[in-house]
Amino acid sequence: MNNTIVSYLSQFEGHQKFLAVASEFLGFDVTALVGFVIFFTACFILVNVAAAIGGLGTYAERKISADIQMRQGPNRVGPYGLLQFLADGVKMILKEDVVPAQADKFLFNIAPLLALSGVFATLAVLPLSSGFILTDLNIGIFYLLGVGSVVGVAIFVGGYASNSKWSLLGGMRGASQIISYEVPVTMSIISIVLLSGGMSLVTVTESQGGLPHQWFILHNPFTFIGFFVMFIGTLAEANRAPFDLPEAESELVSGYHTEYTGMKFAFFALAEYAEVFVLCGIVSALYLGGYKVPMDLGNGVFFVENLGLPAVIGKNIGQLLQLGAFFTKTFLLYYVVIWIRWTLPRMRVDDLMTLCWKYLTPISLFNLIGCAIWVYFFENQSMWSVIFKAGAAGAGHH
């Protein structure tokens, strides 16, 4: 069965002993129950962490934009204004929940929920580290694409249900944009799948290494291009600038969530920021080596064998290192996303589609074919090993 956090924990002796004791105490096999509890706890923690990250994302965005525009940014609530997002959250909760009279109430209510659940569902397969992963589905990437696309529906429905011109336009833009950009993104992902030989995000990450030249971004020229295609595509999928057309303030007031207030608006905002985090994590897992730590420190063997630490501690130190690597890469990308937002102007809607269909899609197709050819002819070696170990690849020629 799939590699999950439960299976990670169950390799430690303590867990086994606990199971044995609890089963004896309660009189039935508690393995399933404990598994459920662990899952539930992990989900809970992860959702909250993601929400916190989403909230901190808003804070980071304001701080960074302020930095770019030579302002102070939020600095009142908490140290350096760190708690500003909590204050915002409280404000949101306390706001009045207004539903427009002409709105389609059923859809209007369901849209934010769809958005939020769609985003949070993707957290299940985010490979935070080799052990701390909710579940390592062997269709991980596929699952991610499927669940992630619910956000598109949510945006569309939200826009439609508001029964306002701005919202409708924003919703339609958002949906079309998400559908369109899914094509190049998927193509880029498939080329990575081709190289790694599996759709599980852990497989993908494990087939890279800790050092930059072992990452897929530098695996061959095609993936190098593919990284940028993928990154641009994720920007568009997350409705981030310069592709934030669905919520363009200057044109559409605030796009699909113009009519939303209070907690529903907060849901949309949270979904957006959390999605940026998830997508950055995916990009880093696919191209930047994910949670891999240089010198294979991540599996903890070094700590156990060379430093003589107990297996539990050694392994978990490794996991923490992996977590650190993953979050470092992800947050760097997050920073770049915000940086781009405050640097580049918004695109026109037809330019957006042109970019997708006339440039990114052909490029990603080319990348895919290129990767396939690369895999066929160079037997999946990276370009470094092709260059530096030339001759080992060619068979039969003297």
Binding site: F377, G394, A395, G396, H397, H398
Partner: protein
């Protein structure tokens, strides 16, 4: 060893994919069609290079790693079976290279581009098929299919007398094919209609020595009669005297690229047929007829050279020179010694490059002059002083010309020398005669060159422009090939020597 079986499939069908995609491009997008064809042929060429890099030169005969064998018409034990050995690999490389270059040279075609390029790519597919097929039936199919694009390419884009040339080419070759078909069917029955009845490899080795065939009340030796059938079939393609008269028509009337392919690749299919089919299947008969083959070859050499010298149409001259040079290949084949056979295969490759250069250059000239007369029918000079007018062109022409006449240091020499070394041991007097061909071969080319390139620039030539970057681009690879393989032939000889050696050993046992 890793299997690369898909490689042959890719090489074979890549041009076909190209042809189909070309058909799908709207005919208004002329640029797109051209570039697509170029990219397609380049890809094919790169694939052939990959094939070369993965080829094991030490293995004689078919390389197991590449073999493809899929039942095709199972009732008759006909297989879709492809394979590669040292004899076909040079031809594959040559085909890949020449088609790629010919696409570049076809850039100036303006009439029905889409049809032209798709037919051209289709032609490439069929040529690859002939060189790769290991099943006699498959071989025959590709052999025949090749006629279709060729017919249209000559018949639509050809010169002033194109229909005649196209029909002549078609019927001539078809006549030979029918004899080959008879041979194939006879072999099918003679080999007992078993699982290997169309398998060239299984048929080869001289299994048909003691069979007799009663025909019109007379008893014929099966192998000798069938060898004659196959011989005529292949000889028409080579072309061997007296089956050569389609060649001047077809070459002269065909557009440049097609002439190149015709001379550079298609003629080799004939000699390739000998090496792949006629010799291995009927070794004893080939041995029996070797003197006749040598005599026909020498007639080719001398007769072709003499006829070439009389021509006033420069393309016709080069066409006859092809007849003469293919005669050398026949001489090498008749020798049946290791030098001679290697020399013959090498000559097939080298003639492919040098004659392709000649035809391409004549095509370049034709685009400027729109005629090809060395001396016009009214007796005035057709060209004059081209050396002064087109210096770069002339330099390339010199390389092509000397390569073609076998100047040492250029590729033609080694193959001709090897052929002579081979044939001398068996037929000394024929060697002596063959040297006359060598002499005349230099004479007509130099004479042609003198008449066209030396002296003052005549008025008509003053408007010609020198070769442009595109033309240089497609001449350069051939120049390099001609020079490099003239100095260091080992890359090609190493490819073929094991396979040729195997064939020679087989022939030597009879």
């Amino acid at each position: 060893m890793q299997a690369h079986s898909n490689l042959l499939n890719w090489i074979l069908w890549m041009p076909m994919i190209g042809a189909i995609v070309t058909l799908l491009i709207p005919s208004k997008m002329e640029k797109g069609i051209r570039w697509w064809s170029l990219v397609n042929t380049l890809t094919t060429f790169i694939l052939t290079l990959v094939l070369y890099s993965k080829f094991d030169t030490t293995v004689p005969g078919m390389q197991e790693a590449f073999n493809v064998k899929i039942p095709w018409i199972a009732q008759f034990h006909i297989n879709y079976s492809l394979g590669i050995d040292g004899i076909s690999l040079p031809m594959i490389l040559l085909t890949g290279l020449l088609f790629f270059l010919c696409i570049m040279s076809s850039w100036t075609i303006t009439k029905q581009i889409k049809a032209y390029f798709s037919l051209f790519l289709f032609l490439q597919c069929s040529v690859f098929g002939v060189f790769l097929a290991l099943d006699f039936f498959l071989f025959y199919v590709f052999w025949e299919v090749m006629l279709i694009p060729m017919f249209f390419l000559i018949g639509i884009w050809g010169g002033e007398n194109k229909e005649y040339a196209a029909v002549k080419f078609f019927l001539y070759t078809f006549f030979g094919s029918i004899l080959m078909l008879i041979g194939m069917v006879a072999l099918y029955y003679a080999s007992g209609q078993g699982a290997d009845s169309f398998d060239i490899l299984a048929l080869s080795g001289g299994h048909f020595r003691n069979l007799n065939l009663e025909l019109f009340g007379t008893n014929f030796a099966f192998n000798k009669l069938l060898f004659i059938f196959l011989f005529i079939g292949f000889a028409i393609k080579v072309p061997v005297f007296p089956f050569h008269t389609w060649l001047p028509h077809a070459h002269v009337q065909a557009p440049t690229a097609i002439s190149v392919i015709l001379a550079g690749v298609l003629l080799k299919m004939g000699t390739y047929g000998f090496l792949r089919i006629a010799y291995p299947i009927f070794p004893e008969a080939s041995k029996y007829f070797s003197y006749s083959i040598a005599v026909l070859g020498i007639i080719n050499v001398i007769y072709g050279a003499f006829c070439a010298m009389a021509q006033n149409d420069v393309k016709k001259l080069v066409a006859y020179s092809s007849v003469s040079h293919m005669g050398f290949v026949m001489l090498g084949l008749a020798a049946m010694t290791v030098q001679g056979m290697n020399g013959a295969v090498l000559q097939m490759f080298n003639h492919g490059t040098s004659t392709a250069m000649m035809f391409l250059l004549i095509g370049i000239l034709y685009e400027r002059s729109h005629h090809r007369w060395i001396v016009k029918p009214d007796g005035t000079k057709g060209f004059g002083g081209l050396y002064t007018q087109l210096p770069k062109f002339s330099i390339i022409f010199i390389i092509a010309m000397f390569a073609s006449m076998g100047l040492p240091g250029l590729s033609g020499f080694i193959s001709e020398a090897l052929i002579f070394l081979g044939i001398y041991e068996r037929f000394t007097s024929i060697t002596a005669l063959g040297l006359i061909g060598l002499l005349i071969g230099a004479a007509y080319l130099l004479w042609m060159y003198k008449r066209m390139f030396f002296g003052d620039v005549i008025d008509e030539c003053k408007t010609y422009t020198d070769v442009n970057a595109r033309e240089i681009a497609y001449m350069t690879p051939l120049c390099i090939a001609v020079i490099v393989f003239g100095i260091y032939p080992s890359p090609i000889l190493n490819m073929m020597r094991a396979s040729v050696g195997k064939l020679v050993s087989l022939l030597a046992t009879f």
